[in-house]
């Protein structure tokens, strides 16, 4: 087998694993968008906020320490305890649910029946607010997140591939774990929306508000649910990326990776988000591997967008999206 082909296989594997994470983030967008018509610009900042909260809780940091100290002249910073990772994740999820409730109670509730563009702008506002709020609550410094996920090269894969091709693939354990968890979550979200009573209610609201009301569904409940799911997805994405590259502002940019995924897969399609995520994940790695050197490298920064744009020209509704036919 030629070297190029072997390298390409390794690159594809890595791409697939990145793709599963993209799919997860994209799914967060799709679920909110379908149910409420809101494109949640704040999704990325929510991931950052979740990761900061998780680190803060694990380290026993006092929230709003700077504010408290400034007002009361105290010098509190730490509670002096450490919370185990799993418990901290559960607590962080509670914080994300509280956030979902607050977003609905103080923002979205007042914007029922308004134009999508206004809802979108509200989420931009939310993004900036949350960014500042996160800094105020936990401090703006770069944090290290270690929830005990395995890291470093996977020896088994290295040895097996070395035995097969005479070249050992470099696959990071963290990527493997992350993609397995993400795949499980994608499956869980799909199962939730298809097979549970609340999932059915969610799909009902996504389809027709009036009809949903008439069968006894509380829209407020659904909004909180939807934002909680977004918070959950943000938390998972925050953990994965945070463990990989530290908890810092750039973490909020991962959400931007979901945009081309959505353009490719369609904004309303669950399978679209999954397949789109995988295509972008693999596509950008392969492209960089094959053509990156000729084009000066760093193509993964723009490849996904170009692919999505090309796609938009030929299939504006995305891979799985419904064809939009304007009624006249």
């Amino acid at each position: 087998m030629s070297d190029t082909l072997i390298f390409a296989m390794e690159v594809t594997l890595n791409g697939l694993m990145a793709g599963v994470l993209y799919a997860l983030v994209a799914l967060g967008f799709v679920l909110i968008f379908k149910a409420s018509g809101i494109f949640n610009y704040a999704q990325g900042v929510m991931a950052l906020f979740a990761a900061m909260t998780l680190v803060g809780i694990m380290d026993g940091q006092v929230p709003f320490a700077h504010l408290i100290n400034a007002i009361f002249g105290t010098k509190v910073h730490h509670f002096g305890w450490h919370v185990p990772a799993l418990a901290a994740i559960a607590l962080t999820m509670l914080v994300m649910i509280a956030l979902a409730w607050a977003v609905n109670r103080f923002v979205m509730r007042f914007l029922v029946n308004t134009e999508p563009i206004i809802l979108f702008m509200a989420t931009i506002g939310l993004a900036y607010f949350l960014e500042g709020f996160g800094d105020l609550m936990w401090g703006a410094d770069i944090k290290k997140l270690d929830v005990g996920l395995p890291q470093g090269i996977n020896e088994t894969i290295d040895e097996v591939t070395f035995g097969m091709f005479g070249y050992g693939f470099f696959i990071d354990n963290l990527d493997i774990v992350a993609s397995i968890i993400a795949a499980l979550l994608v499956a869980a979200l799909v199962a939730f929306s298809q097979y549970t009573k609340q999932g059915r209610a969610l799909r009902a609201v996504a389809d027709d508000h009036q009809a949903a009301l008439s069968v006894g569904i509380s829209l407020n409940f659904i909004w909180v649910l939807v934002w909680s799911i977004a918070g959950f997805v943000a938390l998972v994405a925050g953990i994965m990326w945070g463990a990989k590259s530290g908890v810092q502002f750039s973490l909020s940019l991962i959400a931007l990776k979901a945009l081309p995924v959505l353009m490719l897969g369609g904004f309303t399609s669950i399978p679209g988000a999954i397949v789109g995520g995988l295509i972008i994940g693999v596509g950008e790695q392969l492209f960089e591997f094959l053509l990156g050197p000729a084009l000066g490298g760093a193509t993964e920064n723009w490849f996904a967008y170009v692919l999505a744009l090309v796609f938009l020209v030929f299939r504006p509704q995305g891979l799985f999206g419904e064809k939009i036919i304007e009624r006249v």
Binding site: K197, R203, V215, S218
Partner: protein, 272 residues
Amino acid sequence: MLDAAEGYTTADGRKIGGVLMEMKNITLRFGGVVAIKDISFDIREGEIRAIIGPNGAGKSSMLNVISGFYNPQEGEVWFRGERRPPMKPYQVAQLGIARTFQNIALFEGMTVLDNVMTGRLTQMKTTLLDQAIWWGKAEREETENREKVEKIIDFLEIQSIRKTPVGRLPYGLKKRVELARALAAEPRLLLLDEPMAGMNVEEKEDMSRFILDVNDEFGTTIALIEHDMGVVMDLSDRVVVMDYGKKIGDGTPDEVRSNQDVIDAYLGVAHD
């Protein structure tokens, strides 16, 4: 005047019970438009009650008041002997009041079966946490409800389209699916806004039969809006007649038919 607690016996010998729902001096305004002007009437246990009137008379508005989609500016709504505070539509649904819409509101992307299953949401009690922890319990509930739904599907003779996405169905069948979804809630009061509008003669006959059967077999109280006078006269026990937001007649089909105000209102008025 009928007594509130005691019922009456219909011409075809059915026993009608006491008052289930009572509207007292309802007034509903949209800006300057008065859609309902000081209307009172009641709906009795086991009855088929019709609301008729020319276009724009305020019939749908009245149904929307009953189902909580509109809240009237004045008047009181009484249900099962208690005054009902202003409510959201989903709360009204949880009281056991189901409805269909004049312009059909179905979940177009879902199958017929899924649509009818949503009608059971008010009857399903497991919470999100239950579903996550006691998967078995949630599954049992799902199966039980599924059985009820299959019965309704059989009852309305839509077995053959169970798995079809609703968006692909013709108009007449959609109306029937919407009825199935409302029935799935096992409502105390069923509200139908023009259940036969836009149907051909055969479809109308089917729908009439279903409405009578629902009332007969499940004892469901039904309030319906209908334009076709023939249908109304055949189906209903008592009729409210509205015109320009006012009540101009109330009584048995025979009584309203011979009411001069009603005759005047309908003369020279185009209906569809």
